[in-house]
Symmetry: C2
Subunit: 366 residues, 2 copies
C-alpha cells in the first residue's frame, strides 16, 4: 500500500505539516498546543466529539481506535502520528502503519509498555533494575508466584490498569487465589514489595538521530494511586542523577525510541534506583517542565517525533506541580491570585471526583 501524500518522507518535518494525535485528553491537548507553537497543525482522533484536545486542534476525527474510516482519515491527514496514551491497541498502530503512516514512538515501545511482564523483562535485560516479579495465568500459578516472590507482594493485571486500578496487595500466599479472582482471572504479574524511600521519575527524550535529552528528576507523591504532587528538580546527589540518566538512556536506546518517555523510579535506602514502570508518552510528572524548563516535555515530544533537534532540558526554576482533581479546580480564582502560581486547565466539561481537571505549577527561583 502506498504512503498517503501527507506522509513523512524522512528528514525534519517542516512547519505547516500536520501531526496526528491518538487521544483527546489533556496530554493530547498540551501536545496539540505545543505543535501549534512550532507552526504545525494538529489533528486528533478521539471517540468524544467535544474533547480537551479536539478543541485546540485544527480538526477532531471522532471515532474509536478500531474505526477503519477514522484511522484512514488520520493516516491521510497526518505526516506523523503520535499518541497520548500507552494503551492504544497494537492493532490500531499496525493498521496505521499498514496505511503508510509514520507512528512514533513505535510499536515496540507500546508492546513493552502494555504488558507488565514484557516491561520488566525488557528492563532487566537492558540493565534497568526492577523489583523481583513472576507471571501467573491461573489461580494455582498465582499462589505459586506469591510463594516464590514472598509476601506481602503486589498482584497486578499484566495489561491495562492505571492510577492504581487493577492491582491488589497479597499478604499471604494463600490469599493469592482470591486476589487473582478479584482481578478478573486474567493474566497477572506478582511483584515483590519495595521498601522505597522516595518515588522519583525522570522524563527523557530521544530524537530520530538517536540524540537523547534528560530532564532533572522529579519527586512524586501519590494519593489513592493517583499523582498528587511533583517537586522538581528533586533534591538528589549527582550520583543518583547519573544513575537515573544511565537508566533512561538504556531504555531509550533499547527501544530504539523516538519521543518523550516517562520513567517512574523507586529510590531505595541504599541509594539504588529501581524502575517501577515506563510510559511511552509525555507524563504527568513532567508537567513541571512547562514552567521550570525552557523547552517543556510537550514541545520536546513534538520536536522528537518531527525529527527536529531536541531542546535544552536544564531547569530554570524550582517547581511544585499540584494536580487539580475533581472540584479542586473550582479554586481557579484563588490560584490565579497567587503570583507564584501558573495555571493549566484542561477544559473538561464535568468535574467528576478524582478526575484530572488541571494542574498548577508553583514556581520559585532555583
Amino acid at each position: 500500500m502506498s504512503a498517503p501524500p501527507s506522509s513523512w518522507k524522512g528528514g525534519p518535518l517542516p512547519p505547516g505539516s500536520t501531526i496526528g494525535i491518538l487521544g483527546g485528553g489533556q496530554l493530547g491537548r498540551m501536545l496539540a498546543q505545543a505543535a501549534s507553537k512550532l507552526g504545525f497543525d494538529a489533528v486528533v482522533l478521539e471517540r468524544d466529539a467535544d474533547s480537551p484536545a479536539g478543541r485546540v486542534a485544527v480538526r477532531c476525527l471522532v471515532g474509536a481506535y478500531d474505526d477503519p474510516a477514522a484511522l484512514a482519515a488520520l493516516a491521510e491527514a497526518s505526516a506523523i502520528v503520535t499518541y497520548e496514551f500507552e494503551n492504544v491497541p497494537a492493532a490500531t498502530v499496525d493498521h496505521l502503519i499498514g496505511l503508510g503512516a509514520e507512528v512514533a514512538p513505535g510499536p515496540r515501545a507500546l508492546a513493552v509498555a502494555q504488558d507488565r511482564v514484557e516491561e520488566k523483562t525488557f528492563l532487566n535485560a537492558h540493565g534497568a533494575p526492577t523489583v523481583a516479579f513472576a507471571a501467573a495465568a491461573t489461580s494455582d500459578e498465582a499462589v505459586d508466584a506469591a510463594t516464590r516472590i514472598g509476601t506481602p507482594c503486589l498482584m497486578k493485571t499484566r495489561r491495562e490498569g492505571y492510577d492504581g486500578k487493577g492491582q491488589r496487595w497479597v499478604e499471604h500466599p494463600a490469599d493469592a487465589a482470591a486476589a487473582f479472582t478479584a482481578l478478573g482471572g486474567v493474566p497477572v504479574i506478582v511483584e515483590a514489595a519495595c521498601d522505597f524511600t522516595r518515588e522519583l521519575s525522570v522524563i527523557a527524550a530521544r530524537g530520530r538521530d538517536g540524540a537523547t535529552a534528560v530532564y532533572p528528576l522529579a519527586e512524586n507523591h501519590h494519593e489513592h494511586g493517583v499523582l498528587r504532587r511533583s517537586i522538581a528538580p528533586a533534591r538528589v546527589t549527582p550520583a543518583l542523577a547519573d544513575q537515573a540518566e544511565r537508566i533512561a538512556a538504556r531504555i531509550l536506546s533499547g527501544l530504539d525510541y523516538v519521543g518523550v518517555i516517562g520513567v517512574e523510579l523507586f529510590e531505595l535506602a541504599d541509594g539504588r534506583l529501581l524502575v517501577n514502570e515506563i510510559a511511552p508518552r509525555v507524563h504527568n510528572s513532567g508537567h513541571w517542565t512547562q514552567d521550570g524548563c525552557e523547552v517543556d516535555q510537550f514541545e520536546q515530544h513534538i520536536r522528537a517525533v518531527a525529527g527536529w533537534p531536541l531542546g535544552p532540558t536544564r531547569a530554570i526554576a524550582q517547581v511544585e506541580m499540584l494536580n487539580l482533581l475533581g472540584e479542586e479546580a473550582d479554586a481557579w480564582l484563588k490560584y490565579a491570585a497567587e503570583p507564584e502560581t501558573r495555571i493549566h486547565l484542561y477544559g473538561k466539561r464535568e468535574a467528576k471526583p478524582g478526575r484530572k481537571m488541571g494542574h498548577i505549577n508553583r514556581v520559585k527561583p532555583l
Copy 2:
C-alpha cells in the same frame, strides 16, 4: 435587546467559558492559545476560512467584520469578545454591544487608537507627551500645518496605515500639498520630526478592578517601518522606567482600559519620553514576554478581559526577539538547533516578502 445566554454577567469569567476574538492572525492565534491554557474556549471571527487563529480555536466563524450573521453568532457564542487588531470598525463593536456582547478593550480605546489626531489629543490631555502635531483635511490646510509644525515633518493619514504604510516625509512646506495628494487626499496629521535616541515600548495591562501591571521596557529596532528586533528588558535608568510606568498608568486610567496595551515611545537625548502611538491590543514588541516573563502578554490580556487577577510582569530572562519575515522563517531548522532560541511559528501558508511568519526569542539569564 436582551443579552445572549452566554454573555458575561460580571465577576471573574469561569474556565469553560468562551472568549470571542475578532481577527484570525498571529495575535489572535497566540491569544487563543493563551485562553485555552486557562481552560477557556476560543472562537475566532475572520474572513479567511484557514487562518492562523482559526486553526487553534474551537470554532472559526468565517465572515467580514460587517457581516451581521457572523457578528450575531460571535455574540451568541462568546461570554466576552476581544480583538487582535485596533482597526476593527467602530460599527462592528457597536453592533456587538447592541447584541448584548461584552467587548474589551472598550470602544473608547478603539476610537482613540484609530484616529491619530484623537490619539495625540487624548495623550496630551492625560499627561502623556507627544511630538507637536496639527490636523489637516485639505491641501491648503496641509501646507499650513507643515508651516506651523516646521519641516522636515511627517504626514500620515489620520486613520488606517500600519507598519510604515500611509505616511510621507515632508521636507519643505511647499511639498505638503503633493504629499497630501499622494496619501489620497484624506484627512491627515502632520507631526514634528522627533530626534529620538531610541525607540522603546512598554506593554501594560489593566484589569476590570482597575489594577495595573507593567512589563519592563523593550528597546525596538525597525526596518522599512516594520519591527525587526526587540531587546528586553531594555537597559534603562530607574528614572526612565518610572517615567514609562507613569505614562502607561495615565493612558490606562484615562481610557478606563481593560486588557493589554502596547505603548510605543521615543526616548530623547535629554531623557524625556514621548509617546509615538498606542495599540489597544497585544503588541509585537511584547512577544519577548513569552519566554522572558512568568505570565506573558497573551495570558495577561486574557486574564484582564476575563476579570481575573493580573499576573506577575517581572522579567525572568534577558530576551532578544527577532521577527521572521517572509522566507526568513525557512531557517526554522537552524533556529531549532540553537539551544538559546525559542521558536514561535504562526502556521501561515504563504511566505510573502515581509510577511510576519513567526518570531524567535533568544534567551539569556538576566
